[in-house]
């Protein structure tokens, strides 16, 4: 690769050692959590021990066999997956409309979407709580404590992200391709599924994965807008704190479980996460 920044040529072993130390600092809290999750209560007393001699599986099985936690995990998986699918589909439609159609004020709409992602969530807890419990109700059904409620709500911060990520990808697909398909008699749906979808597939996959992870990681809304049925794994993890005499091993095991998707997807999306977290302001 061409070095484009000429003012500090060469690496040097000092930089290398520095990065090893920096990586250890980054990994240490996560490693320690894993260590705690592999130990029984008795082993955790006394001086900290960083080596895992025997793996205490009970911490994990206690969480995985607990019906409440099973429900939390299933909820998290369903909500994240439904949200990722919904957001990616709607964002594909929206970006295609913004990219290809002459719509009045479409650049303003494009910019307005991102403002939904900037507002502090704590500000909207109270109005959302009131809307979910009292306004968005049909008979005895309310959005409060439902999975569908969270799926729709997560769209507020995930849709802008997906639209801003996909915009560049859809714009990069030559207009001539879908126009040729239209001349050949394809309708809009056929153009979207037959021309745009195959070409945008890698971008759509990354968008879907990051959307999934953001939904999986969300805590504040899930904690406020659910009580029993729709609780997610992050709220389950937080519940360990309020219980007196915390079972640290089991808490660490649960935290490790919430980390699994991040570890699985890290390699796939690491190049795109910065664009995602900076509202698409920074492209690598």
């Amino acid at each position: 690769m061409m070095r484009r920044f000429p003012y500090k040529p060469g690496g040097g072993w000092l930089t290398f050692v520095f990065w090893i130390v920096a990586s250890l600092i980054t990994l240490f809290p996560i490693y320690w959590m894993f260590v705690v999750s592999a130990k029984s209560r008795v082993e955790l007393f006394g001086a900290p021990n960083f080596i895992i001699r025997s793996f205490f599986v009970e911490n994990y099985t206690a969480t995985l066999t607990n019906p409440t936690f099973q429900r939390y995990m299933v909820n998290s998986i369903i909500i994240s997956t439904a949200n990722a699918l919904l957001v990616t589909t709607l964002a594909l439609f929206a970006t295609y409309a913004l990219s290809r159609y002459r719509l009045v004020g479409k650049e303003n709409i494009f910019f307005w979407t991102i403002t939904n992602r900037m507002a502090p969530p704590a500000v909207f807890l109270l109005p959302l709580f009131l809307l979910f419990t009292q306004t968005f109700t049909i008979g005895s059904f309310s959005l409060y404590d439902t999975r569908i409620g969270l799926v729709l709500l997560y769209c507020v911060f995930n849709l802008p992200f997906a639209i801003w990520t996909l915009r560049g990808i859809i714009d990069a697909i030559p207009k001539e391709l879908d126009e040729a398909a239209m001349v050949d008699g394809c309708n809009t749906w056929q153009v979207l599924t037959g021309v745009i979808l195959p070409l945008a597939r890698p971008g759509l996959a990354v968008t879907a994965i990051l959307t999934w992870v953001f939904a999986w990681n969300e805590y504040l809304f899930a904690a406020t807008l659910t009580s029993v049925n729709a609780r997610t794994i992050t709220t389950g993890l937080a519940e360990f704190v309020t219980v007196t005499g915390t079972n640290w091993g089991q808490m660490a095991a649960t935290a490790s479980l919430t980390l699994v998707p991040a570890l699985v997807f890290l390699g796939l999306v690491q190049r795109h996460i910065v664009a995602g977290l900076t509202f698409g302001a920074v492209k690598e």
């Binding site: 920096a22 109270l126 306004t135 704190v241 492209k283």
Partner: protein, 312 residues
């Protein structure tokens, strides 16, 4: 590269007739997105705006909402607990973001050098960004809990330092800042790395020929060229730090006492048990207003004094 807060101008061929593209289809494609964002994004905002001017409290003797004018806001200005939490939030944001920018810049420069396993280090560095904030809080709690965590143990053994973030307000505050630095410095690093990699070569070569010192190069060339990227990163980080809730809730629970009860936690913990909806809405509104005001002040102080720097 940088296009924050600036809608992109697209070079579409507006003169050319597009076959069979009626705006109605476009609006139909856009409709579901707009409906969801209006109902769940703009809706709550309008709702909180209305409720903020009422005295609605569902547990009060009169549980219905009545217009109360600016009464809630007048009460808020003298609410010491709320003002204290705002002040704490500013302190937290200041120390966290400042450390992240400095550290992130250094790390980005060090990633520019040719070292073995660069991609590997970079991947590890990205990991904290993917971790759920609530899990970040959990890991740092496991590190700092007395009797379990290695931090209190070794600090006491090697330096005789008594680390108890559950008892000492300063330590709890510092712990939340350090945790935030651990979590978010990678974002700054990767953002600035992208900016540094796209810097032009010529000014640096010219400076080298002219015999400029490293400090001069940094101050007169690198910093001005990186200014737009640094500013964009600062804005993003400030907005995020002001709304931090999950990690801090998990690490300290807002304590000891109210030492780390940042404004998001304050709204959450104070308003919901009391069901004082009118007052809570006013608190939310003021928080939003202060966030916007702070960003605007920063914008004026850092950017608007001179012409807005262009990065492209």
């Amino acid at each position: 590269m940088l296009r924050l807060f600036r809608p992109i101008q697209h070079h579409s061929n507006l003169d050319r007739p597009v076959p069979m593209r009626s705006p109605i289809t476009g609006w139909l494609l856009l409709a579901p997105t707009l409906v969801i964002l209006l109902v769940f994004g703009l809706g709550p905002f309008i709702y909180v705006l209305v409720v903020g001017f009422t005295n609605w409290n569902s547990f009060a003797a009169d549980p219905t909402a009545h217009f109360a004018g600016v009464q809630n806001f007048r009460r808020l200005v003298f609410d010491d607990a709320f003002l204290h939490s705002l002040w704490l939030t500013f302190g937290f944001t200041f120390f966290a973001v400042l450390s992240e920018i400095v550290l992130g810049y250094l790390l980005a420069q060090l990633l520019m050098r040719d070292i073995p396993f660069k991609g590997f280090f970079r991947t590890i560095h990205t990991l904290p960004l993917m971790v759920a904030p609530i899990a970040v809080g959990a890991t740092w709690r496991l590190l700092t809990v007395p009797g379990l965590g290695p931090l209190p143990y070794y600090l006491d053994r090697w330096f005789g330092f008594d680390l108890r973030i559950g008892s000492f307000a300063d330590q709890a505050f510092a712990a939340t800042v350090i945790m935030d630095v651990w979590h978010w410095t990678p974002l700054v690093t990767l953002t600035l790395l992208a900016a540094i990699s796209s810097l032009p070569k010529e000014p640096f070569e010219q400076a080298q020929i002219d015999g400029a010192s490293r400090l001069q190069v940094f101050w007169y060339i690198t910093l001005p060229l990186l200014k737009p990227a640094i500013l964009a990163t600062v804005f993003i980080r400030v907005m995020d730090a002001l709304r931090t809730v999950d990690e801090v809730w998990m690490l300290t629970g807002g304590g000891p006492a109210a030492a780390t009860r940042y404004v998001g936690l304050h709204i959450w913990r104070v308003v919901f048990p009391k069901t004082d909806y009118g007052y809570g809405a006013a608190m939310s509104l003021l928080t939003l207003y202060v966030t916007i005001l702070l960003c605007w002040l920063m914008y004026v102080a850092l950017v608007a004094r001179r012409e807005l720097p262009r990065s492209e």
